[in-house]
Symmetry: C3
Subunit: 359 residues, 3 copies
């Protein structure tokens, strides 16, 4: 159960660099590529001729060409040519609204008529040269909501990430969770503690001492359909913590886009945006490597949790105060899902390929 009339991150620009990319998103098999004017096109990954995946083809002068028999597909899903054929009567394939913005390719897997690029999640830092961003992509076999739960309850850091960002003081600082419209915010503040290894590294990276007490914060914001941005950081203790001046802290935003592939698998785009030493590419790479290792620790836990839930489908789970972030996020999703079901009555029919006879 995932929302479809929303924008998801589909891929990063490098993934469609010079070649098409096939990726299933919300159960839809989609081919992404860069069309003639440089904009991104997203189409059903199904050649209307013989059903080959168009993503096995290639892009020639901005036109997607099927790799089986050379059918040329236009970026609106209408065949524009094929050697030796008149293609006017060829059935159309489905087009998906797609937009490149903030260093990501976004796709709208639902009703194209409702797609509104202005609704794409805003990432002001992505357009600000004072910030740098590094990240990666993991494929994980779990319901996307298990990842939302994971990110909206960071007490798991103490256990899953014990050697990098976890520390006992997280357990001792109860989070506060609130709704802000369709967003959910859960925050935790820790004062006068020792920074864990990852944050010592970030302090050093920012030219700050790493052996003094710090104040630490975690502010997780869920935005539908499944984006979780986490403001995290440490400041030398006693300078205001979250609001300490820039030269007293190392802070960043953990960037998480969770895109459902199927009901029980996801494309997990993780990353970190920081506003210190943005030009230092070595530091970007170092943070990316560290974060990649940390987030890989969640994979087995989430996949095994999914398998346990599959095996015990009737068992209810506990909803503790630490789970409030995930619980409230799911309530937002449920409300929007109900609204989407209501509004989908009267949705236009998707064109389906029809047969023509052999000549």
């Amino acid at each position: 159960m995932y929302l479809k009339n929303v924008w998801y991150v589909a891929c990063t620009p490098d993934e469609i660099d010079g070649k098409p990319l096939g990726r299933k998103i919300c159960g839809e098999s989609i081919v992404f590529y860069r069309s003639g004017d440089g904009t991104v096109a997203a189409l059903e990954d199904f050649c209307p001729h013989r059903g080959a995946p168009l993503s096995l083809g290639f892009v020639r002068d901005g036109t997607l060409v099927c790799g089986y028999h050379g059918l040329e597909m236009g970026c609106e899903g209408k065949t524009t040519g094929m050697p030796g054929q008149r293609v006017g009567g060829f059935p159309q394939i489905r087009r998906y609204p797609a937009v490149e913005r903030y260093g990501f390719i976004w796709v709208w897997p639902g009703d194209a008529a409702q797609a509104e690029p202005n609704e794409i999640h805003r990432l002001p830092w992505a357009e600000d040269p004072a910030w740098a961003h590094g990240g990666g992509l993991y494929h994980i076999k779990c319901d996307y909501r298990l990842m939302i739960d994971n990110l909206m309850d960071l007490t798991h850091e103490t256990y899953v990430h014990a050697n990098s960002i976890g520390q006992k003081e997280i357990d001792d600082a109860p989070p506060k969770t609130v709704n802000k419209g369709d967003q959910v915010v859960t925050s935790r503040f820790m004062e006068n503690i020792t920074a864990p290894p990852f944050w010592k590294m970030a302090l050093r990276g920012n030219g700050l001492a790493d052996d003094v007490p710090v104040d630490r914060w975690q502010i997780c914001t869920f935005t539908p359909p499944s984006h979780v941005m986490i403001e995290v950081g440490v400041a030398h203790a006693g300078h205001g913590g979250y609001i300490a001046p820039a030269d007293r802290k190392a802070s960043s935003i953990v960037v998480d886009f969770i895109t459902p592939e199927t009901e029980t698998s996801i494309w997990y785009f993780w990353g970190m945006a920081r506003n210190f030493r943005p030009e230092d590419e070595e530091l970007t790479a170092k943070i990316q490597e560290g974060q990649g290792k940390i987030f890989a620790e969640d994979l087995e836990m989430l996949e095994r949790q999914q398998r346990n839930l599959d095996a015990w489908p009737d068992r209810n789970l506990l909803k503790l105060n630490i789970d409030a972030g995930g619980v409230l996020s799911r309530k937002v999703i449920d409300r929007l899902l109900a609204a989407e079901r209501t509004s989908s009555v009267g949705q236009p029919i998707i064109p389906i390929a029809r047969a023509s006879e052999a000549s």
Copy 2:
């Protein structure tokens, strides 16, 4: 949906050299081996004692011996011995008609009473010392008819095999497709073109210049159940093309036997028979290597096409003029399938193993 009362290629002689081979064909699990008189036997791959696969056993003096408890199976499916046992009352297992001919082992997976070795597809070149043959076997997860489509529409060469046998002129030369009884023939002729890399190699192999214009032909013949023989070649331009004298051309027959394993998987026996320099084993190996690489390029396309068709089961495909070969071949298959269903009424019951009590 495949024909069962027909002959298929099951394996090559080297695959049963000194040991039994287990292979599923048309849904039937069969063990092949060479019996005492050197002829090939094919039996249900199921020991009537405890159900072990007989193909895990061995052949001793031409008798198949089960590798679990030593049951000796006769080539008619009747147990001939077992240490310490009287085997007279043991249930029979099914025998499949099998014939070795033309360098292949052929099997009849349907009603044995109807099997007629004279109906095995004729390969005159296989018995002619002026010809040489090399080939291989691929296992591909697709409906056997997708491979027939593939071979009966060679426009795909331009795209799938762009670096070896593909060339733009194929697209420009529309094929002509006709029925000849149960056979379907689709042919294409190109004149005064440049030979693509594979054919340049073949010209050189035949001692001919490879840098002059050539005439090229492709004549694909489908024969039920799923054999496709393709006469292919190039001749120095202006000498008659297909009917040019032998010292002006390099020609050969692409040999394709497509044997269904299940509804969505095949054993694909590919090869090439040529009538120039038949004694040159190095050339045979070189052609085999080149062809093996070319045909491997089809694997991913066919398997991904199958998965797309599985995902969109209700979608109809286009049937263009270039698809006529496959379309007409499927019509022949459909007609024969209907005939097979009608004739199967009153077919003899296959003997099934029965239990005897413990003594």
Copy 3:
């Protein structure tokens, strides 16, 4: 169809050395670990908080800690703590009776109220310093009864283990099979034969000539639910065989515990106990290596047999005199299964986790 109100071997002590072990037994996902007082605990592998497998966690001072959010689970299935939480109302998870005895961890996957440690299969040699034991564990995808059949009919040694313990004389010596209460015993005696390679090695290991005629015996005893102990050995011919004095023979007990994982997969604990040179660890290792190789030869046969039986579900198998051991063992199992079904009426309900609301 397996018995559940019985003791099975679950694992060996080294498998829970310092960390929890997750293992599915009779369809139950169970976590095993060593609790504070050194005894073994076995619990449902499902954290009542969010469904994570507890086996991905760790043991701290004898307490099982969930690796996701730090829930502390008591060895009775009652949560004993969780950072920042009152756990009194947390739902209980299922506890399985578990006992460490004879160098194995035993588990009772059925109704805990009926578990009686006195019913654990007795292994007198395991507590006798005159004996040594070595063994291993294989995971095999077959019904546990196929392995019982295998071990209760050693004629397969001649074929499956032709190069180690197999010899033609096994086929020539018909076994004798009898019931002894719920046990089944099948025995075979061979006189004045040549020892096969494995037994030559054992004779040498016991300081005896390996090039003289021997008497050989195999006495297989099935005990429910699925234990098979096999007394095996060779004695220099003419000294009494099975009852020959210790300095004239090499004998041992093949130890087989077959624990169902699912209906069609097993944990197979194999080993050998011997009462000669028990202090010789090099000999133990040599025997273990040899036996491990021999028993690995059964794996493919059993898995392929299982697949054949799955493919031909309606086919009956033969029950010959050599199969009597397996046939009678299955009759015992069937009788006990019927009794278990009858007695399970009125069994206590297993506690199931219930939801509490988010706070």
